[in-house]
């Protein structure tokens, strides 16, 4: 065994060297041409790499032949370009000619050919790097910039135009990672702007022929940019400072006017303006008290108070002591009611809106002016001050004179003395007035004080002038907040109505409160004058005329209403002047109720001439008599 192993080992040891020796001595491996380059398009060099060495010294030779020629030439220069290279000089170099190049590796045992390579010098040009790259910092109005300049590689003949080179450069801050590349074309100079002040820049340049390869990058050139403030940045700084300054000034101004600015931006919330509303109470948190204060105890007048009301509005007549109609209270009631009209729109509002309200202060405030006041013809010219209260009119009428030209009377609100039930908006029940022998029309004469008075309800008119004689007092409606209720009681015609200009009225039976169907709309009738007969010549006030109402009187504006008197029904008969007839027209209140449509005055008295137009309907379906109507009480039904 052991001998066998030794023998094997000996044999192996003998064989291996032989084999190895055999491996060393082989033909050379195949060489390979790696690249050929021409730096100037006049010469070129080819490099190859050797294959495996065959163990013996191997020589390499390069052979080539040009296109269209079979002549094979050998490399003229193996040394100039270094090992494993072949340098073709100018004489051997032809441009636009294909070279077919082959490298042969030869050793003692054999040779080996490389693959042939076709080369056209035009396409293998790779110049050297540009030379003399200089970088300088120049100043501009926008700031410093870099100017890079260079020269073409010395070997490349660009001067004669044999080679056309284009250049490229790249720049970066020293600490940056990415290069910024720029094509410079054929120029040999380049400017770089937008520099970082105080930064260190690196610049490199390379070139390329029109058909060829890029050269290597030149060695980096360093340049330091001096510190400067960019113009653009300085402008922004200036703007920022200026803006801050302006801002400070504005803030200071606003601070000075803090309160007014606050008032402008956040207008104060208006507080409640409910009459009688006490904010302090509200703040205390006692709603009951607050609301209680709003409630006027005397309103609405309850039935139990009628008596009282009645009493209040009782009028003392000189002549006939006709009892005050029990319904007078109704009248008054109504009259009062009118102000407190249940369905008055203006409830709770101080009743400026109430058609019963004739106060100046409320005048003109209300936009919804439904009721039209009609001046009562009852106004006596001579009476003291007939003040005209018109809504919207703040004038104070001068004292009417009996023969004054114009007396404006305030609208009289007739309480519909008619109905007895407050709920019932009947005005026109003539019954009521009927019951009175005397229609008593109580009205509150707005004395001088009226316009100025604010709380109407609490007004008690002083006794009427003595000039009036009879009337001792006028009471204003007691309806407090709802306005003024004017009642006026027509004097009994039989009485000495000297005070009344309305003679007719006096003459007539009792004029009942013309419970003219009070609609909301009441119109003012202006007493133009009082004629000799102590008749009020009324004229509707166009300004107050409600639409249709006015139309009627459009013609002359001089429409007089003459009170013919009070008819049996205690209706105040008005008579249009044009008629000059005794015709009085009145509305039958009865018709009134609930009718919102116009009412046409019914001709009660035969003699009344009913004017078509007269019968215009007031909006509120007021019964239109002649010019204007006397609305006894605007306790209208809820129209």
């Amino acid at each position: 065994m052991m001998w066998r192993d030794v023998g094997v080992t000996l044999i192996l040891s003998l064989i291996l060297p032989v084999v190895a020796q055999g491996a060393r001595h082989t033909p050379p491996g195949k060489p390979k041409l790696t690249s050929c380059r021409s730096p100037d398009k006049e010469t070129f060099t080819c490099w190859w790499e050797a294959g495996s060495d065959g163990g013996r010294p191997t020589t390499y030779s390069l052979f080539y032949h040009k296109e269209n020629s079979e002549t094979v030439y050998e490399c003229p220069d193996y040394h100039t370009a270094g090992a494993n290279s072949c340098f073709f000089s100018k004489n051997e170099t032809s441009i636009w000619v294909n070279y077919n190049i082959t490298v042969v590796a030869t050793n003692a045992l054999g040779n080996n050919f490389s693959d042939p390579v076709d080369v056209d010098v035009v396409y293998i040009v790779q110049p050297h790097t540009p030379e003399n790259v200089t970088v300088g910092v120049l100043e501009d109005e926008d700031g410093p910039f870099l100017r890079v300049s260079w020269e073409p590689p010395s070997k490349a003949d660009t001067r004669s135009g044999w080679i056309t080179l284009i250049y490229e450069l790249r720049v970066k801050l020293e600490e940056a990672e990415e290069w910024e590349e720029h094509r410079a074309g054929q120029q040999k100079m380049f400017n770089i702007f937008s520099l970082h002040s105080g930064g260190v820049y690196m610049v490199q340049v390379r070139c390329k022929p029109d058909h060829g390869f890029w050269s290597e990058w030149s060695t980096a050139s360093y340049v330091i940019v001096p510190d400067y403030i960019p113009r653009e940045r300085s402008m922004w700084i200036l703007i920022a400072v200026f803006s801050a300054f302006i801002f400070l000034i504005l803030t200071w101004i606003i601070t000075l006017n803090r309160s007014s600015v606050k008032h402008c931006l956040l207008p104060p919330v208006p507080g409640p303006k409910i009459k009688g509303f006490d904010q302090q109470l509200l703040k205390k948190g006692k709603p009951e008290e607050v609301f209680n204060s709003l409630v006027v105890q005397s309103f609405p007048p309850r039935s139990t108070d009628y008596e009282d009301l009645l009493v209040e509005y009782l009028e003392v007549y000189v002549n006939e002591k006709q009892e005050l109609m029990p319904e007078g209270k109704d009248l008054q009631d109504v009259g009062c009611l009118k102000s407190k009209s249940q369905s008055d729109n203006d409830s709770g509002r101080g009743s400026c809106d109430s058609h019963t309200l004739l106060m100046e202060k409320c005048g003109g405030v209300e936009s919804k002016d439904e009721s039209s006041y009609e001046e009562p013809e009852l106004l006596q010219g001579q009476a003291g001050s007939w003040e005209r209260l018109e809504r919207g009119d703040s004038q104070v009428v001068d004292t009417p004179d009996s023969s004054d030209g114009r007396v404006k009377t305030w609208p009289l609100v007739f309480s519909p003395s008619i109905h007895g039930s407050s709920d019932n908006h009947h005005y026109g029940t003539l019954e009521m007035p009927k019951q009175h022998s005397t229609s008593e029309i109580t009205y509150s004469v707005p004395d001088h004080l009226f316009p100025t008075s604010t709380s109407f309800p609490h007004h008690h008119h002083p006794e009427y002038r003595d000039s009036l004689g009879e009337y001792s007092e006028y009471r204003c409606s007691r309806s407090p907040s709802t306005g003024v209720a004017y009642h006026w009681e027509a004097r009994h015609p039989t009485q000495a109505h000297s005070n009344f200009n309305i003679r007719n009225l006096e003459r007539q039976k009792e004029a009942t409160g013309l419970g003219l169907p009070p609609s909301r709309s009441m119109e003012y009738v202006e007493v133009q004058k009082v004629n000799q007969e102590n008749q009020l010549v009324l004229k509707p006030l166009s300004s107050h005329g409600r639409g249709p109402f006015q139309v009627q009187f459009g013609r002359a504006g001089v429409d007089y209403s003459k009170v013919n008197g009070v008819n049996n029904d205690n209706v105040l008969l008005l008579q249009r002047q044009r008629e000059m007839a005794e015709a009085g027209q009145y509305c039958n209140y009865r018709e009134k109720e609930g009718a919102e449509a116009e009412r046409y005055p019914t001709q009660q008295q035969g003699k009344t001439t009913k004017d078509g137009p007269v019968a215009t309907q007031l909006q509120e379906s007021t019964c239109l008599t002649t010019s204007g109507y006397v609305d006894t009480a605007p306790t209208m039904p809820t129209f």
Binding site: I95, W162, T164, D210
Partner: protein, 165 residues
């Protein structure tokens, strides 16, 4: 006048060709032209112009058969042909300007149009693509020749001693 024709050179198109098919022969081989710098510089400007003229002329019509399908050129065969025509005309003008009416050409430079023959005919079939590439290679080389010649001539003609291009 030289500057006018710089823009009509077409080298830019050629740069896009990645494949360089080096033909052993092109049809323009019949046109004798300097093949190195020395020869080029030895040649007169007029000679260079003539050679350029002939080269352009040899490609004026065959360029229409070229199929250049890279993205840069679309429907371009006619454009190339037109540009070549314009270039030819321009070179002719330059020749006229330089000659003063005399034709100083030697025999080698006699104007002979190369034979078109069947060279430019498409063999058809599979050979089309290869043929096209070969044509393009020849075209590219010739155009580069013209560019070089004209550039050299221009630099020589310019008054500036320092002809830096």
């Amino acid at each position: 006048m030289f500057n006018d024709f710089d823009g009509t050179l077409l080298p830019d198109e050629r740069r896009q060709l990645n494949k360089i098919f080096l033909l052993d022969f092109c049809n323009s081989d019949s046109i004798v032209s300097p093949v190195d710098k020395h020869e080029t510089q030895k040649s007169s400007v007029l000679k260079l112009l003539h050679i350029s003229f002939r080269l352009i002329e040899s490609w004026e019509y065959p360029s229409q058969t070229l199929i250049i399908s890279n993205s840069l050129l679309v429907g371009n065969a006619n454009q190339i042909s037109e540009k070549l025509s314009d270039l030819k005309v321009g070179i002719n003008l330059l020749i006229m300007g330089s000659q003063d009416g005399l034709l100083s050409l030697d025999d080698n430079d006699s104007q002979q149009l190369p034979r078109y023959g069947n060279y430019y005919q498409n063999p058809g079939g599979d050979g089309n693509v290869r043929r096209n590439y070969e044509l393009l290679a020849c075209f590219k080389k010739d155009m580069h020749k013209v560019e070089t010649y004209l550039t050299v001539a221009k630099c020589r003609k310019s008054l500036e001693a320092n002809c830096t291009l």
